[in-house]
């Protein structure tokens, strides 16, 4: 297999230009996907036999909750790669993903609470699924805060990578909490092999999941562009980019 493409991509400059070229496409396609799947799900799908219209929050809750977990996984992998091979770009990726993941996790908690009130009869209970998801939000918050607390950037990156690995243990707990313990939250509706959602509801949901994943990739690229310029501003190419944007005047050396 030829890995030269990956090697090139690990150079901040190459990554920046790659992102500038392709990311607008990813962004607009994902935006289109989200509008289509949400319109489809919210306006053109029949109400649920039991929950009526309140089930429709599924089209947003499931994608963001799923992304909260996947983003953490990606963040931990990026952190580990950075830690072992000391790749600057991997650390930056880990940093960007922490902020994106925190947003998804918070949205999942909020949308879940809004869904819980009409269906369960309560905003919140301390069951295993809700509590472990709450902990995930704090693991993300820990990443963000730890980076700001440690002055030395390199040390901060390494500390966050290790913290990310410690938090990894929470992922299987979240996923299987509904099977291992008695919880208020229901079990999984979609597994790799089967689903308990009627096809006409499942299709817009799968579209929504795909679109939310795509917009996460796009947000990640945007964050990376900023992070790369912030760390590389002393290089000639980044200096030129910043000067041409005329948004700030880099300090000349």
């Amino acid at each position: 297999m030829n890995f030269s493409f990956l090697h090139k991509l690990s150079s901040p400059r190459y990554f920046y230009y790659f992102s500038i070229t392709y990311n607008p496409w990813i962004f607009y396609i994902s935006l289109l996907g989200i509008s289509i799947s949400l319109t489809w799900g919210l306006a053109f799908t029949a109400p649920d036999y039991l929950q009526g219209n309140s089930y429709r929050i599924i089209f947003m809750h499931v994608p963001v909750a799923s992304l909260a977990l996947s983003t953490y996984m990606a963040m931990a992998i990026a952190g580990t790669m950075g830690y072992i091979w000391r790749i600057k770009l991997a650390f930056l990726a880990s940093k960007s993903l922490a902020i994106i993941g925190f947003s998804w996790c918070t949205l999942a908690l909020i949308s879940g609470a809004i869904w819980g009130k009409p269906t369960w009869g309560t905003w919140w209970v301390w069951d295993a699924r809700l509590t472990s998801m709450f902990i995930l939000a704090f693991l993300y918050l820990g990443q963000i805060i730890l980076r700001y607390t440690i002055q030395n950037t390199e040390t901060a990156h390494r500390a966050c990578a290790l913290l990310g690995i410690v938090g990894l243990v929470n992922l299987p707990i979240i996923k299987y909490s509904v099977e291992w313990w008695n919880t208020l939250h229901q079990g999984a509706s979609i597994t790799l092999t089967s689903t308990s959602i009627a096809p006409e509801m499942l299709h817009p949901l799968l579209c929504a999941i795909a679109s939310f994943y795509l917009i996460t990739v796009s947000l990640f690229f945007y964050y990376m562009q900023c992070e790369i310029l912030k760390t590389e501003y002393q290089t000639t190419w980044a200096y030129k980019v910043l000067a041409s944007k005329n948004t700030m005047t880099p300090i000349s050396h």
Binding site: I84, L162, T183, A188
Partner: protein, 149 residues
Amino acid sequence: MNPIRRKRLILILVILTGVSLTTLLAAIALKESISLFYTPTSLISSQTPITGSIQVGGIVVENSIQRAPNNLKKQFQITDKQNTLTIDYTGVFPDLFRENSGIIAYGSFKDHVFYATKLLAKHSADYMPKTVEQAIKKLHDKQLKVSAL
């Protein structure tokens, strides 16, 4: 892989294994207390007396709901397919309260009856339009008729 990188990889694997083992042991030790509710079986078969404010959960038994004629007093049974438990409740049922669907009751257990002060409806992982549900029901009734013949 060069020795320094290998050392870092080993460090990460050690951390991952250590944290996983710790969590696993803690989870096994806390199994009962992490669960949000008792099932009728775990409540009835408990070796130690269960007092104070607790939660039980189960499926509402068909045709078990009894309503008092002139107040909000209600009694029904929940089951976990092995044991059933009678629940005493005064108040309005939650919207999604149905026979054959899951509920969680908050309250206390006394003399084989659970006195609930609050009910939560657990909803299943099934989602379908009304038409599909009716079609399934029709098919189910048809099968019952066929088997009755």
